[in-house]
């Protein structure tokens, strides 16, 4: 699987209040949340972002609260993937569990500017900046996590597991 898109670069420690402020947490409709994605970091972001775009960030992306609404807001804004130097752990779990493509790669933030085009080969973990002609490799995904991803998320994994147990 390959994904290609336009890049938006963010810094270190982008927190979940920044990704989706708490004032919108009374809904979990992805479209509604997507309209407010990154609102307190960049108020115009949701009007500029296009389906298939990719976020590139520094360290500790998604720190703060456990709100899965942060992943929903990113998906609802049409963002195809998040590439970061590191992720806060609850955000990372939420992304894996619900099938948002997230890859960790050392130095990824320094390789991109906003507006560049990125191509990501999910299987090999290759990340290519097509604008600048530079590439790097994401950290490999552990086998167990790959199993959840292959099942189509944690709930599909649960369904499969219950079916297997019943047999």
């Amino acid at each position: 699987m390959t994904t290609q898109g336009r890049v938006w670069v963010f810094g270190d420690n982008i927190d979940t209040d920044g990704i989706i402020p708490a004032r919108y947490l009374t809904t979990f409709d992805a479209k509604e949340l997507g309209a407010h994605c990154m609102e307190d970091v960049d108020p115009e972001f949701s009007s500029k972002v296009k389906p298939g775009d990719v976020l590139v960030a520094g360290k500790n992306f998604g720190c703060g609260s456990s709100r899965e609404h942060a992943v929903l807001a990113i998906k609802g804004a049409g963002i195809a993937a998040v590439l970061a130097e590191s992720f806060a752990r609850i955000f990372f779990r939420n992304a894996i569990n619900t099938g948002l493509l997230v890859l960790e790669a050392d130095g990824v933030r320094g390789v991109f500017d906003t507006g560049d085009t990125v191509r990501v080969d999910v299987k090999s973990g290759t990340i290519v900046n097509e604008t600048k002609g530079r590439s790097l490799t994401a950290k490999p995904v552990p086998a167990f996590i790959q199993e959840i991803l292959d099942a189509g998320g944690l709930m599909e994994y649960a369904k499969k597991k219950l079916q297997t147990d019943a047999r």
């Binding site: 209040d17 009374t26 709100r67 944690l154 709930m155």
Partner: protein, 420 residues
């Protein structure tokens, strides 16, 4: 090779003799918690995927806390989802208004989370219960849904970091100050994915409340969990309220730690985390002149009886500054009642504070004290990110309850000694 307390609990819950950092395990959970923000999404996932079972009706808690009493129609409907799900399934621990409070104060108070437990909660501050000697961590709504149905959670065994505190604390230095100091030392990702184990003479001398405060903020250093070995203080707290048996675990002498930090607390002043990260901890003597519009005493970090007592002691017989709104929120109905009986609420009201019903409300800019453009607040809560308590143009300074109360009187951030 020895194991840490965290590794022992995780091994015991995953059917392993031994686990090591980075092992991926499927672990049985003892208790699962969701609130009015995270549980509606989990319940919708369970319905969507046709998973109808609940692993154990007595080991799931649904706690309306963030926007409860409901702030608007959507919030009321979210609580309805929790209420109806609890009724339909027969979940015992749904906390209706009157019994509901902030989950991280409520569950330990009610004896629902216990030493040796493996607890997950769909709220990042679930790490709080580590103060009782449990492994406890925050997850999202899908993990919550999975755990409600299956009674288990996938986990990567975290490396442990040991934080040792020795020496004698200065007056007005509490668990809150030590954890802010620690986060300032390691940074907001300094404990990323790790278990933070707090040890040493200072920890041993701490009340359960202070221990809860320290473990509560492990997440602000990126930690997966915070944990303190249970001892006589833990036993005294847990024994009268435990709803089921529990076990004490302790780290082996030869357990392995990724890093060990040793702090002498003698020179540590009350700490203030400056905007906009909890790691911007600063000794109060170096904060400078910061005028405030609001002071907030409450939250899962510092909303317990002991915290209110500390604040009331500082403010007794004084008046809140005319430019400041002081908002006091007891974390649970029991704390509210105890504070009322002890005259603590009267002290605050006489000083010109407002005392509100138990809720997370202002801590996350939800309601009951949202900040406007350009406003500054000193808060006993846990996060000071941009826009955390309201306007993205507002600023939040994190401090302990005594500093919050003193600052409310002075109209600016001050050391409690400055208003005595």
């Amino acid at each position: 090779m020895g194991m840490t307390i965290t590794e022992k609990i995780l091994a015991a819950h995953s059917g392993n003799k031994q686990v090591r950092p980075d092992d991926l395990i499927m672990a049985k959970v003892d208790f699962v918690m969701g609130n009015d923000v995270t549980a509606p999404l989990a319940i919708s996932q369970l319905k969507k995927y046709g998973l109808g079972g609940v692993f154990d009706l007595s080991r799931v808690a649904l706690v309306p806390s963030h926007f409860s009493p409901p702030k608007d129609i959507k919030a009321a409907n979210n609580v309805r989802v929790l209420r109806e799900f609890a009724k339909e399934k027969g979940i015992v621990n749904f906390f209706e208004l009157g019994a509901a409070g902030i989950e991280h104060a409520l569950l330990p108070e009610q004896g629902l989370v216990l030493p040796g437990d493996l607890v997950i909660g769909a709220d990042s501050h679930t790490c709080t219960y580590g103060a009782l000697g449990a492994f406890s961590t925050g997850v999202g709504s899908t993990d919550l849904a999975y755990a409600i149905a299956m009674g288990e959670v996938w986990l990567k065994v975290p490396p442990s970091l040991k934080f040792c505190y020795e020496g004698k604390r200065q007056p007005y230095v509490y668990g809150k100050d030590l954890i802010l100091y620690t986060i300032g030392h390691v940074g907001v990702d300094g404990a990323l994915y790790c278990a933070m184990e707090f040890v040493g003479g200072v920890i041993e001398s701490m009340s359960i409340q202070e221990r809860l405060t320290m473990c509560n903020m492990a997440i602000e250093a990126g930690g997966k969990s915070g944990i303190i070995s249970p001892d006589a203080t833990t036993e005294a707290f847990v024994k009268p309220r435990a709803k089921r048996p529990y076990s004490f675990y302790a780290s082996d002498e030869d357990a392995e730690y990724e890093r060990i930090y040793e702090f002498c607390v003698d020179g540590i002043e009350p700490q203030v985390a400056l905007p906009n990260l909890p790691s911007n901890a600063c000794p109060i003597s170096e904060v400078g002149e910061v005028k405030i519009d609001q002071a907030f005493l409450g939250s899962c970090t510092n909303g317990c009886l002991e915290d209110l007592e500390i604040g009331a002691k500082v403010i007794k017989g004084k008046r809140v500054h005319s430019d400041v709104r002081l908002i006091v929120i007891p974390a649970t109905p029991t704390i509210y009642k105890d504070a009322m009986e002890k005259g603590i609420l009267k002290t605050f009201l006489e000083a010109g504070a407002v005392v509100s019903t138990p809720t997370c409300g202002p801590c996350l800019g939800g309601y009951m004290g949202v900040l406007g453009d350009g406003e500054k607040a000193v808060s006993s809560s846990n996060r000071n990110f941009v826009g955390r308590m309201g306007s993205p143009k507002s600023e939040v300074y994190l401090a302990n309850p005594a500093v919050v109360a003193a600052s409310a009187v002075a109209g600016k951030i001050v050391h409690p000694d400055d208003v005595q």
